[in-house]
Amino acid sequence: MLDVFAQTGAAGFEQFLLLGLVMGSLYALIALGYTMVYGIIELINFAHGDLFMLGGFLAWQLAWTLGVRTLDASSTGAVVGAVALMLVTAPLACAALNVATDRVIYRPLRSAPKLTVIVSAIGVSFVFMNVGSLWLGTSPVKFPDLVPDANLVTAAGVRFTWKDLMVVGVTVPTMVALTLFVKFTPLGKAMRATAQNPTAAKLMGINVDRVIAVTFAIGGSLAGVAAVVNGLYNKSVHYQMGFQNGLYAFTAAVLGGIGNIPGAVLGGLVIGVVGELSKAYLGTKWSEAVVFTILIVILVFRPSGLLGARTREKV
């Protein structure tokens, strides 16, 4: 889990709320990848969390190869350059890997029963995880600490560091850009149309396979962005981190209403806040139980999620 409890010390409610929102925006970024792919081909892409992990490993590899390993030993220019390079390369690589996975594994199964595709996604998840363990081993690996921990606010009892600012500064514009893209561009509209009715989309002249590929590309690149931000924030990567973060993000997507883009953002923020508050007030060991209880409660009582109320189609 993304453990930031140690830094907070004896902080108050506002502090945990703030931390929750920071973590939540990270979950939201990953949740968007789940929800967009589900929205368009009704696949719970269980490999998505592991894609996020591989993105984190790639970012680590870049920093390591470039020799940018600590804040003190590198010039500001080198740090900014390395972070910028990570933020470009990891999303591109994750997008490419996600599209390739769809092309090679999910697309041939497009007309197969849904369970077949989901089991394949679980298989891909294990493959990715094993690639990760071969790449950096099975112990947590220290990620270069490149963003300062200096506090930016003067209010008593609340810490908001450069790291927090980085998370918000990267995730919020990314989500705004995605929302604008999906809402206003022809390709974005084609994505929504395909998600709502693939047959009708074909009849409009929309190349559905291409739209699906674009969706995997966007979902993958969001996972790549999240991976870089997560590495820099938590200063550690691990081959199993995709599993846990992926489940949190999946819970966020279901909470918001799977297939619903604003829902994934809302769900991410709620899960982040609930996760941090339960850590603070119930103890770290209860946090997962609380989050997954939310998943169960939502699935039982409101499977369409908070924002997932669909307009019924008339016949």
Binding site: P186, K189, A190, R192, A193, Q196, N197, T199, A200, A201, K202, L203, M204, G205, I206, N207, V208, R310, T311, R312, E313, K314, V315
Partner: protein, 240 residues
């Protein structure tokens, strides 16, 4: 240029191990309204989906505007670009897109923004209710309004041939009359139409020619009027 805009010969199509269409042949000439009538499960929708490329043909020829769509394996998303658009059975409106966005999707293949805007205006003149409700989600429209939107959306592609699948399905009689008036008017302006209907009487009244489809085979074909007066058709499809 031959008179036939669409010439289907020995078309075979189906799902899994089952063949639905058996050597189906039909023709639509430029400027014609052609009706295809038949019972549930006869293969009417499969025929149209096959023409639009959504269901793959297993054999035969579909020559549209001089090009064989089957032999050339034209994918569904390119068939619209050739000038063949469909208003599908059950409307298939994008329920969470607005009425306006639904119309824009109909023009997805077009790059001429001014032309698209002019055509949206035309659909609003044709169906004024769509103008009133242009910013509402498509799923909130009534059945009749959704049918109007589905037809307007298909027309946004500026097709040479308009395929209409069951435009009267589930609609109140006065709405059905309104929809068929629009079909006649479109045809008067030069649009060729292939109309699939269970409402055989309405369809044969507006059609120049008609085909009767039974379990994937064409069993009768003649002018709309002759079919309308044929005692066998009257007994089987007009409830007399």
């Amino acid at each position: 240029m031959s008179a036939a805009l669409l010439e289907v010969t020995d078309l075979e199509a189906g799902y899994g191990p089952i063949n639905v269409l058996h050597k189906l042949s039909l023709r639509v000439d430029r400027g014609e309204i052609v009706a295809m009538i038949g019972a549930n499960g006869a293969g009417k929708t499969t025929t149209l989906m096959c023409l639009s490329g959504v269901v793959k043909a297993r054999g035969g020829k579909v020559v549209f505007d001089g090009r064989d769509l089957v032999a050339e394996r034209v994918p569904a998303h390119n068939i619209v670009r050739l000038g063949l658009a469909q208003s599908p059975e059950g409307r298939k409106i994008f329920s969470r897109l607005t009425v306006l966005e639904n119309l824009e999707m109909g023009a997805f293949t077009r790059a001429d923004k001014d032309g698209v805007r002019a055509d949206i205006e035309k659909s609003f003149v044709m169906f004024p209710i769509l103008r009133e409700r242009q910013h509402q989600a498509g799923g909130l429209l009534s059945g009749g309004q959704q049918q109007m939107l589905a037809i307007a959306r298909a027309l946004m592609a500026r097709p040479k041939l308009l395929l209409l699948d069951e435009p009267s399905l589930g609609l109140a009689p006065q709405i059905v009359v309104q929809i068929f008036d629009v079909i006649k008017e479109l045809n008067r302006q030069g649009m060729s139409v292939l109309l699939v209907e269970q409402n055989a009487r309405m369809a044969l009244k507006v059609a120049h020619r008609g085909y009767v489809l039974e379990t994937g085979r064409i069993t009768f074909t003649d002018t709309g009027e002759t079919l309308l007066n044929d005692p066998r058709i009257r007994a089987a499809y007009l409830g007399e």
